[in-house]
Symmetry: C2
Subunit: 460 residues, 2 copies
């Protein structure tokens, strides 16, 4: 049999009305449906019909009065949404962001295990530590704990969750009605975790889920973030502004993963791409300009200030970005702040120009062009060591997703880069990831799970 071409992973990042900060003001924006499940069902079903690997919800655990005034700021809780979507879809993977700073590992492990059961093996968890004071103030803090502390806690949180997911071995269930034995107690294990932040006995009160555990995703690209990814993540969402930077990031994370004794194919790198698609490049640029024109510059500036942890309100919009100090106030999103500074410097942008560059995807790669241009870009990154696939972030959700599905996907399929049909049933199978054996298992399942990676449809 001919060796199948390596296939691109495509994740739909489902952000509200669209990733452009002014998308909600667009005439086509379905703003009345933001709290209505029919909106999410429609998009999820559409993405599944188009054979996307997964859909993804980000999250943030706070909102300001300014944000509710100037943006479509009501957001349904992601795990609630995933649970609902799980029963109206059959194949597509379901990924949600949940913070390790403001949850209990037992509760979270249970919820993801439940969603993995409900969806028959399609759950994924984007692990974040939460980076803002605004969020911390909803959870008994005055300020967000510092970066290193959050990552230390996050690592322990994940260790506890892994013990809990593994607490029921693969063959623990017996279900012998006659003998009255439901599970083999020798194959159900306590976590007995006692660490710096958590003390959790276990076992989990849900039996092992179809994927063993959710696919572990990570999106921090700071030094701590990359280290965490390299050790634990099976997929990495990342914002990259140039092919070269993306290549460096890709190779860095893969090598770090190898440093932890992992196979480089066990960790998938997915840069974000925020497309606006037109029949001509001019049409696309005009569409994008119309979105920029709908943005409120004062609110954009205030959002940027919050993102980089530096108050820009006194600075002229048509002047340059001021010097940002390297340390101290930047406790939040370290890598994103660096990306924004580098972008402004490299392209010599005024603050106003920078706001436009960030409006479509908050630092993710934006591109307005024809379907061919976008497909070629994805191919270039994919074929040149910058990506295993992409986080697709339509700037305007309805129209932008339709354009991507109808115009870009056929080209990717023609190039042999994206599936015609699902070949697997679980998110792990879509992404080409192995099945993780329980750490308490007496059987040596680990080897066979890695072999499975190499025969999956994702790897050439």
């Amino acid at each position: 049999m001919a060796k199948k071409k390596r296939q691109m992973i495509l994740n739909l990042f489902l952000n509200n009305i669209g990733h452009h900060e002014a998308a909600w003001r667009h005439p086509a924006a379905e703003i009345d449906q933001l709290n209505d499940f029919s909106y999410y069902r429609k998009i999820a079903v559409k993405a599944e019909e188009a054979k996307f690997d997964s859909i993804f919800f980000a999250d943030r655990l706070a909102v300001s009065k300014e944000a509710v005034q100037y943006s479509a700021a009501s957001r349904l809780e992601p795990l609630t949404l995933l649970s609902a979507i799980s029963v109206v879809t059959e194949k597509i993977g379901l990924i949600a962001t949940v913070s390790t700073s403001f949850n209990e590992p037992y509760n979270l492990a249970r919820k993801f295990s439940s969603i993995d059961h409900l969806s028959k093996g399609r759950a994924g968890w984007n692990i974040i530590t939460s980076g803002t004071d605004e969020e911390a103030r909803n959870f008994n803090y005055d300020k967000i704990p510092d970066h290193a502390l959050r990552y230390r806690r996050s690592k322990e949180f994940l260790e506890v969750a892994l013990k809990l997911w593994d607490s029921w071995e693969e063959e623990a269930l017996i279900k012998d009605k006659a003998a009255g034995i439901y599970a083999d107690p020798d194959k159900v294990h306590r976590a007995d975790h006692k660490g710096e932040f958590y003390q959790v006995r276990g076992p989990l009160n849900v039996s092992r889920s179809p994927q063993g555990r959710p696919v572990l995703v990570q999106a921090g690209s700071s030094k701590d973030g990359k280290k965490f990814s390299a050790e634990f993540a099976e997929a990495v969402f990342t914002a990259q502004q140039t092919l070269e930077e993306a290549q460096i990031f890709y190779e860095d994370v893969k090598q770090r993963a190898e440093g932890f004794g992992r196979n480089r194919n066990e960790i998938k790198i997915l840069p974000g791409i925020c497309p606006v698609i037109g029949n001509t490049e001019e049409e696309a640029k005009e569409k994008e300009y119309r979105l920029h024109h709908l943005a409120n510059p004062d609110h954009s500036l205030s959002q940027l200030s919050s993102r980089i942890g530096f108050d820009l309100s006194g600075y002229p919009l048509d002047g340059p970005l001021p010097e940002l100090s390297e340390t101290g106030h930047i406790r939040g999103h370290q890598s994103r702040t660096k990306l924004i500074k580098d972008l402004a410097q490299r392209e010599n942008l005024t603050i106003r120009q920078l706001l436009h560059r960030l409006a479509g995807g908050r630092g993710h790669y934006t591109i307005s062009g024809t379907a061919e241009q976008i497909a070629n870009l994805l191919e270039e990154w994919f074929e040149n060591g910058a990506a295993d696939g992409f986080n697709i972030m339509p700037q305007l959700m309805g129209e932008g997703l339709d354009d991507f599905i109808e115009k870009v996907l056929p080209i990717l399929r023609q190039k042999g880069l994206f599936r015609e049909n699902y070949t697997g049933d679980t998110l792990r199978e879509h992404y080409g990831l192995g099945y993780p054996a329980s750490q308490f298992s007496t059987k040596d399942n680990r080897r066979s799970s890695i072999e499975k990676v190499h025969t999956s449809d994702q790897i050439g």
Copy 2:
């Protein structure tokens, strides 16, 4: 128009394979489907077709190795299940137990608001404090905090949640695309809560949900529990062993509610009823006996020990229940422990007989009989100041629910005590509860919401 007869509330308590502890061993038990959504979908849809007011999931945040061995102990997480069920049903109310001891109010308020949005106004929260060391050990404690402390925390937790649900006023959403104004910031409020246990700024990041907030349910029948119910609960789940005790409880809670300035119709009392239905009383008794016969006495004894906080393992099964000390070790389920002691004493039961009496519903009222006998019992309690409706707890879920729907409901309908069709769309409407105005609202919605109670279909 003729005054409509007061209608009974019927809530289906959906417990795993059934409420009898040995239900999972019954030949008809769908034990393979316990982690499969199709099982829950089927029951929820059936309950909705039968016009139940609501379905309800209890919860417990731990499992022992003994429980996984001898009982069908894998349990999907309730909020995850409610979210999934919300999109495959249209009318039935959706209630889940969540503990105030091991969650953050911001997260929980957000999840219930999201489920209320997804379900278009059908969410209910059964507020519990969690009562066992086994649970505490999954959440960084060695022992469960004492009863009074848990209730103090619970009260503050609820106060925070209420502030968050109320943080978006009824008319906060503007959604003016042209002006770029999504919400009126003067109608979106911070919680600014600083208390003994929580410090939460708010506002919530989801706009006000259809019911304003979930229906608040409480199930503790201790002194602290009743006080909490009287002040906050809109429905009370309770275990009562005799009509007389149920009447005393009913009147006590209603009077306490009036003591908080509430209308007695704003709090609905729903005792649990665990039926086994036969064409004759003998057939029903035989069905029930067959379930008892499937139970494992050692495991039953160990569960009882855990429930009452007293190790019974040394005591002969055919001897009496020993004297239990009143204080100290009973930190958990105070009122249930008292109920069990009273039951054993009143009926002069041996430990084995007590285990049988508890096997079908853990202290809730069990009845094996004909449909007529059961309908008459419900009518008697409902018409004589003991109940506003019932928590229906089939001892064997599939067959028991079918029997109840096909045999008992028609009799209740004939008596004019239970609806033929839904007359409302939300859980509040089904239960005959008013719409709660935001505490931050400048409009006086409170009066009109109470008036609404009196014109609903629940109140004569």
